[in-house]
């Protein structure tokens, strides 16, 4: 029951990156990703510079390259799209391994992949060094609307419980010799999803009752993270400033 799944992608550690307050990291990561996204296409040296910075941060946070690589799996749909681009785009053609590919399509595909990879890498660094609860507290400190913070906080708290519900339902189902083999079994999967929804909904009601019983009147006070010190902000600002500088230079150069 008390697994650490709820810690999501968090990898415990005591590195300087781990110790930064969550909201400081959120600002740095978000700013850096915006810089990456706003970099003009084909500015290869800029993408290499971003990657260099991320390698440095990954090393500082003592995160394994394999951990980052695992996160890149969600990039797969982009990869498929990127692979199609050179085949479908028009313009000047080049021959690669007997295939006729579009030169601009290749460049666009490479840009797309570079940006997606850098963005996911940054997110993995944030997720790997920040506990989900801290992230929620950080977002609160950044003045995300209260309702959204509360919803996120409940999600972090109950993800495990709902996952456990699902696991128990699956075990109970499989214990009666069920295995989903084809469309014939989709009905069973659909009712599992439905039952899980109803259970979660009912749990929501019970949680609400329990909250009312302790005098809840519509205001949840989450105790946020500590504020960032000037030094910590400065650390984060280095990454941010680097990203912005590279993005501007790339824009001016092209």
């Amino acid at each position: 029951m008390s697994s650490s799944r709820s810690d999501g992608l968090y990898r415990p550690g005591t590195s300087p990156i781990h110790r930064l307050p969550a909201h400081v990291k959120v600002v740095a990561a978000l700013g850096f990703v915006i810089a990456v996204v706003s970099t003009p296409g084909r500015a290869w040296w800029a993408f290499a510079a971003y990657a260099g910075a991320l390698v440095l941060v990954t090393a500082m946070a003592a995160l394994a390259p394999r951990f980052v690589a695992r996160g890149l799996v969600i990039e797969l749909p982009f990869v498929v799209f990127a692979l199609l681009l050179p085949l479908l785009a028009g313009g000047e053609q080049v021959e690669v391994l007997g295939l006729s590919l579009s030169r601009s399509g290749l460049a666009d595909a490479a840009t797309l992949l570079a940006k997606a990879t850098l963005g996911i890498w940054t997110s993995m660094l944030l997720a790997g060094t920040t506990r989900p609860q801290e992230l929620v507290a950080g977002l609160q400190r950044l003045r995300l609307p209260r309702l959204m913070v509360e919803i996120l906080s409940f999600m972090v708290r109950y993800l495990d419980v709902v996952a456990d519900d699902l696991r128990r339902m699956r075990i109970a189902r499989d214990s009666r010799a069920f295995s989903a083999r084809g469309p014939r079994h989709w009905g069973v999967l659909a009712s599992t999803a439905g039952a899980l929804f109803v259970r979660s909904y009912e749990r929501g009601e019970r949680v609400h009752l329990a909250m009312l019983s302790r005098g809840y009147a519509g205001r949840l006070v989450l105790h946020g993270d500590r504020p960032g010190s000037r030094r910590e902000w400065a650390t984060a600002a280095v990454l941010l400033a680097f990203g912005i500088a590279v993005a501007i230079t790339a824009r001016v150069a092209t």
Partner: protein, 250 residues
């Protein structure tokens, strides 16, 4: 006679779908009393519990807590006075850390930061979990979570404690630890349970509920010895358990 800690009079209630669960229930608890509420599934135990702090209302009859009627205008005070520990601690514990969860109730009462912190420390000490204050509740064992759930209501300094099936899913050691905590508190306590030996161990008095009314209200030993009564209301003692020959409690 002093004001009873809890006084339920002729309580009747039907759910909005028309299903009537309580049919004129009377129950009085005095200061310092620990009372077990026994009864088969569907007897109305949970419905009764939800009336004690005004979560459910609008039926017939009255509930008063320490002389204060459970009515809309003093709902907050009622919820401070009546501490309910629900059956599933996962329903009760939802804040990111144990300490924040225990602070939830006192904060709702409008206490300032220092007062809240004091309540949290006091409540966690009372359940022996002071060391776990900064951990997320879902990292605790089930027994620990149940104890945190008790702490979350103790932090409101209630005048009566109500526990719904406190021993469900507990291993024997957690069960004993919880009993020790409950015995150490000098609060009037209502324990809703199917666990008859637990009722016998903790509560000198028991109330048997069935079909929405109190069918028996006697000393626990005497009630549990009445086999006919138990059988008539689908209650059974565990195999080999005899309340008459159990050793006297230490």
């Amino acid at each position: 006679m002093t004001t009873p800690a809890l006084d339920v009079r002729e309580l009747a209630y039907a759910y909005p779908d028309g299903r009537q669960v309580l049919f004129g229930l009377d129950l009085t608890i005095h200061d310092g009393e620990r009372v077990a509420v026994l009864g088969p599934n569907g007897a109305g135990k949970t419905t009764l519990v939800l009336h004690l702090n005004g979560i459910l209302s609008g039926g017939h009859g009255s509930v008063t807590v320490g002389g204060l009627p459970v009515e809309r205008e003093h709902l907050l005070e009622i919820r401070r006075r009546v501490g309910i520990v629900f059956q599933d601690p996962d329903d009760q514990l939802f804040m990111p850390t144990v300490a924040e969860d225990v602070a939830f109730g006192p904060t709702n009462l409008g206490l300032d930061r220092e007062a809240v912190a004091e309540r949290v420390t006091e409540a966690l000490a009372a359940v022996g979990l002071a060391a776990e204050r900064d951990r997320p509740p879902h990292h605790l064992s089930f027994g620990q979570r149940r104890r945190v759930a008790v702490a979350t209501v103790l932090a409101m300094r209630p005048e009566i404690l109500v526990l719904d099936e406190p021993t469900s899913n507990l291993d024997p050691a957690s069960r004993r630890e919880l009993a020790e905590i409950l015995e150490s508190l000098s609060l009037p306590t209502l324990i809703v349970t199917h666990d008859l030996p637990y009722a016998w161990q903790l509560c000198p008095r028991s109330v048997l509920l069935d079909d929405g009314v109190v069918v028996a209200d006697r000393p626990t030993t005497e009630l549990l010895a009445d086999e006919e009564l138990l059988r008539a209301h689908r209650l059974e003692l565990p195999f080999g358990f005899d309340p008459r020959v159990q050793p006297v409690r230490p």
